[in-house]
């Protein structure tokens, strides 16, 4: 895997969140989920930049949803994982699984 295709830890979390929200992954919801589940505060700038980067790497894509008055007529983007995205996620999980094997005592 070249460095261009590598997955940073925050990117990893974002991909998981998008996967978990399947079909409902708007930037706002991704952020909320991350803040709730990962117990970390997520800066908007970082999230947007990460989503852009993941899109650039071909791991996520988006479609638009109809505009609502609350958004001042700007449509929303809903993100979903591409096949590449799913593949890279699976691969890093396999790596994680293999590396974690037998460490249950320490990792709890």
């Amino acid at each position: 895997m070249s460095s261009k295709d590598g997955l940073g830890s925050f990117e990893h979390l974002v991909l998981l969140a998008v996967l978990r929200l399947e079909g409902e992954a708007r930037a706002l919801d991704v952020r909320e989920l991350l803040e709730r589940q990962a117990e970390r505060s997520v800066s908007r700038g970082a999230l947007y930049a990460t989503l852009e980067r993941l899109e650039g790497k071909g791991f996520v894509a988006w479609s638009t949803e109809d505009a609502t008055p609350a958004r001042g007529g700007i449509p929303r983007r809903v993100f979903h994982l591409t096949d590449d995205g799913l593949a890279v996620l699976r691969q890093s999980h396999r790596v994680l699984d293999r590396l974690s094997e037998g460490l249950e005592g320490a990792l709890g």
Binding site: R26, A27, L28, S43, R44, G45, A46, Y48, A49, E52, R53, T68, P69, A70, R71, G72, I74, P75, R76, R77
Partner: protein, 891 residues
């Protein structure tokens, strides 16, 4: 219908984020989240949240690696074509965080100091007084220049005439200030207050109305006027705890009962000129309780008169009418039709004394800003040189020269705006520091704050600074020949000549300005030292001083005398207390009464009544005062205890009178007195004048009477206790309270404190100018260091060759240091000349030194030379360690 964020905020966020699609998504998300928050929380919170998120996002996009992760190549393309110069400038800033931080911090210091000092100028000098049409308000004085008093109080009878006949004025308000003991109706502890006795149209003239209750009614003045009082908000808070039921309640002033009819709003303040006595604003106002008609000049001059010129009356006409009235009064009262009133606008008058000091600070801080500009320009210049190759590449690839210069300007504009923002924050802190240190006699300090005007001016100054500092590198862009730079012929030596000269010029200017500033600091410091050494005619030690008011209006002379006798006796009985004396006017208090003294039969008399009846200050004291205050008896003796009884006709005069009227003999045993007083007072001694007005110089002559000869209910007491403990003030209060619980005791101070207050203007100037001078020196030294280092780097090959040819490290070091000092030399000459030429700005702060004081100048020159030598030492050492190999590698 869901509401979106305020339009202006959203537009700002859009503008900040840029116009591409990605930004639009973000704006939409923000809007949606705003709507959600708005359902749960208040609109204010939602708006604040939106603003904060907007700033954070914009900040991230601008300065961190936002989603705009396109770098380098793209930037060039944009700059050549249609991209924003600001986008390019932002990238430059991001790429050099260290450089940007240094520039922003330097600018923040310069801009912050300016904003803080300008806040002072704004609050004290510029902000209009808080009255209706303040430009129509004037104060009137009697011009008694022939008596040596260009601004004397107005006589009561004259004030009455003015009220009656000055038709160009809609209001004419005679008033006087009094200090008084206030006790609440319920008999709570007495408070020392400043009382304004005013004509009933006082509040109407200012165009202000009470917040609670009412003001005085028209005609509610003169003998038989109701005893009513209007409180300031401050007094209402401090004495009544803001109790609204105060209206209608009664209070006692020196024992007399008054009814409270009104309370002013918190913003109301009456600003009094210093010649009205204490700069403390009155805490409450009562109507003038006597009739002015018929109180001719024989009663003296004691009133302040404020007038409001009627709307639509040209001011010249109003002043001409005053001249006519004065002429008539002068003619009537002492056959002098050339008598005039001196008229000053309220706003100008108030700050007349503070103006020179504040303008000096403004000038000094402007100099600091200029140094900061020169410093930042030097830094930009150095970087422009380093970046010259990049620029040349960019130009070669199609970026227009103008756009490149514009990008540099944009960069420095962005940096100076960041500097301004940080500077304003600094100013917020600095303002409270400034106000805390400000001299006691600076008026309107409570109005000094960083307001919109200060903010706008700061932004304007920052924009100017940004453009000025951008000029230097832009100039370079114009000069650099692209081809020459790209060929590399401009790499080390040739092309740098112009840059070097500009840099040296900028550093020279910094040195010059620092020199001028530091010389001012030296002069002020020396003046202050001189003032502390001055023998002002009294011992300024740790004697505790306090002021009290005995009994009410009804107290008899005997009761007052007895009160002070008992008080001083009991205080003298406190442990450790050596002497206790009482006096009507403490040194430096400016509180003496003035009148004429008949000396026409003294040996030094000239026969000219104007000279032989000089205007003098009259002071009253008890027998122990001279020792307690440490007065110097030049001849004869001070009053004795036995002379403290009514009817004793003895006096002490000061040395000025003695030398003038008894040039060859002694005045002791002679008699003198008020004009027309045939009995007179026998002189028992001559004293050196304890200065009443100015620490640095004698003023009017003084003569002294025993308290019994001129009974005053308000006296100051000096308690000389040697090294008494900190508990003494409390013990003193206790003694007063036991003696008479309705008597208020003023804040206590010490004789030393009087002198400290008197030099507070110098101390303030010294601190501020010292801080500015130090900052200027540091910046200038950094500048010298920068230029010399640059010169050494540029000459690496030359120095290497010198070393190869056998030059000693020591001689190389000397050469470099000498160069650095030469750089400083012309700055020193220019700065000294500048300081000497501008000495008159300092004149109000100089005492016992001339603006061209050689010692101060020499000290500053030495400090700068030493600093310059230190700044060149590091580059000189580096130069002396250059090896020939290094030099060749350079080539």
């Amino acid at each position: 219908m869901t509401k979106g964020p305020p339009g202006i905020l959203e537009r700002l966020v859009r503008a900040g984020l840029g116009s591409d699609d990605r930004s639009a998504w973000v704006v939409g998300d923000l809007r949606e989240e705003y709507a959600r928050l708005r359902e749960r929380a208040s609109p204010l919170r939602a708006n604040a949240w939106y603003g904060l998120q907007g700033i954070r996002l914009i900040g991230r996009v601008w300065f961190a690696r936002g989603w705009d992760n396109v770098e380098g190549k793209r930037a060039m393309g944009r700059l050549g074509a249609t991209g924003s110069v600001f986008a390019f400038a932002r990238r430059r800033i991001r790429k050099a965080p260290g450089f940007s931080a240094v520039v922003v911090l330097t600018l923040a210091l310069g801009i912050g100091a300016n904003a803080a000092v300008f806040s002072l100028v704004n609050g004290v000098l510029l902000r209009p007084l808080p009255y209706e049409a303040p430009e129509d308000l004037v104060f009137l004085w009697s011009d008694l220049t022939s008596e040596g008093v260009p601004r004397a109080w107005v006589n009561g009878g004259h004030a009455y005439e003015l009220q009656q006949s000055a038709s160009s004025f809609s209001h004419m308000v005679p008033m006087e200030l009094e200090e008084s003991s206030l006790t609440r109706g319920d008999g709570a502890d007495a408070t020392d207050v400043v009382l304004g006795l005013v004509a009933s149209n006082f509040f109407d003239a200012l165009g202000v109305a009470p917040r609670l209750g009412r003001a005085f009614l028209v005609g509610e003045e003169g003998s038989g006027a109701p005893a009513v009082a209007v409180l300031t908000h401050e007094l209402w808070q401090s004495v009544y705890g803001g109790d609204p039921a105060v209206v209608g309640a009664s209070l006692r002033l020196d024992g007399d009962v008054y009814e409270v009819i009104g309370v002013m709003s918190p913003s109301f303040r009456f600003h009094i000129h210093q010649s009205l006595g204490d700069p403390t604003p009155p805490g409450l106002f009562v109507p003038l309780d006597y009739d002015l008609a018929g109180l001719g000049p024989e009663y003296g001059f004691w009133m302040a008169v404020m007038g409001r010129i009627a709307p639509d009356v040209p001011h010249e006409r109003a002043f001409a009418e005053l001249d006519a009235i004065a002429s008539r009064l002068g003619e009537r009262d002492w056959n002098a039709p050339d008598f005039r009133f001196d008229v000053g606008y309220l706003s100008e008058d108030l700050v007349a004394q503070a103006r020179p000091l504040i303008l000096l600070l403004m000038a000094a801080v402007a100099v600091v800003l200029a140094i900061v500009c020169a410093n930042v320009a030097t830094v930009y210049l150095a970087r422009a040189v380093a970046r010259q190759r990049d620029s040349a590449v960019q130009i070669a690839m199609g970026a227009s020269r103008t756009r490149l210069a514009a990008a540099t300007a944009a960069e420095s504009l962005l940096l100076s705006m960041a500097g301004a923002a940080l500077g304003l924050l600094l100013a917020y802190g600095a303002v409270s520091l400034l106000v805390g240190m400000a001299p006691v006699d600076l008026p309107r300090l409570d109005e000094v704050s960083v307001d919109v005007r200060v903010g706008l001016l700061t932004i304007a100054a920052a924009a100017l600074v940004g453009l000025v500092t951008a000029l230097a590198p832009s100039f370079l862009h114009r000069r650099a020949g692209t081809a020459a730079v790209l060929r590399g012929s401009g790499s080390r030596s040739g092309r740098s000549v112009g840059v070097g000269r500009t840099q040296r010029g900028l550093v020279g200017v910094q040195v010059a300005m620092s020199t001028a500033l530091l010389i001012s600091v030296g002069l002020i410091g020396k003046s202050m030292l001189r003032l502390f050494e001055v023998d002002a005619g009294f011992r300024h030690g740790d004697q505790v001083i306090l002021t009290t008011q005995a009994g009410g209006e009804g107290a008899t002379d005997d009761q007052v005398l007895e009160f002070y006798e008992t008080l001083t006796d009991r205080l003298a009985g406190l442990p450790g207390v050596r002497r206790v004396g009482a006096v009507s006017a403490l040194p430096l208090s400016t509180r003496a009464n003035q009148h004429h003294l008949d000396l026409s039969s003294a040996p030094g008399a000239t026969g000219d009544p104007d000279l032989d009846e000089p205007l003098v200050d009259r002071l009253v004291a008890d027998d122990a005062y001279a020792e307690a205050a440490g007065l110097e008896i030049v001849e004869g003796r001070w009053f004795e205890a036995g002379e403290m009884v009514a009817g004793t006709r003895v006096a002490v005069i000061d040395r000025i009178l003695a030398e003038r009227f008894w040039p060859d003999g002694s005045p002791v045993g002679e008699r003198l007195g008020f004009p027309g007083d045939t009995v007179g007072y026998r002189v028992v001694g001559v004293v050196r004048q304890p200065r009443l007005y100015d620490l640095g110089a004698d003023d009017r002559p003084q003569w002294w009477l025993p308290h019994s000869a001129d009974v005053r209910s308000r006296m100051s007491v000096v308690v000389d206790a040697g090294t008494a403990g900190a508990g003494l003030p409390n013990q003193i209060r206790q003694v007063v309270r036991e003696l008479d619980p309705t008597v208020a005791v003023s804040d206590m101070s010490t004789m030393e404190g009087l002198v400290r207050d008197a030099v507070s203007r110098w101390r303030f100037a010294l601190w501020i100018m010292g801080a500015f001078g130090t900052a200027a020196l540091l910046l200038a030294v950094l500048g010298v260091y920068g230029v010399v280092s640059y010169a050494v780097e540029r000459r690496t090959s030359e120095l290497g060759i010198r070393m190869a040819l056998g030059a000693q490290a020591r001689s190389i070091r000397t050469m470099v240091v000498r160069q650095g000092i030469a750089l400083v030399g012309w700055g020193l000459v220019l700065g000294t000349a500048g300081a000497w030429a501008s000495g008159r700005f300092l004149s109000s702060l100089l005492y016992g030194v001339t603006p061209r004081d050689p010692a101060a100048t020499a000290a500053v020159v030495a400090v700068l030379l030493l600093s310059a030598a230190a700044a060149t030492y590091l580059p000189a050492r580096r130069a002396s360690r250059i090896t020939p190999m290094e030099a060749f590698r350079e080539e």
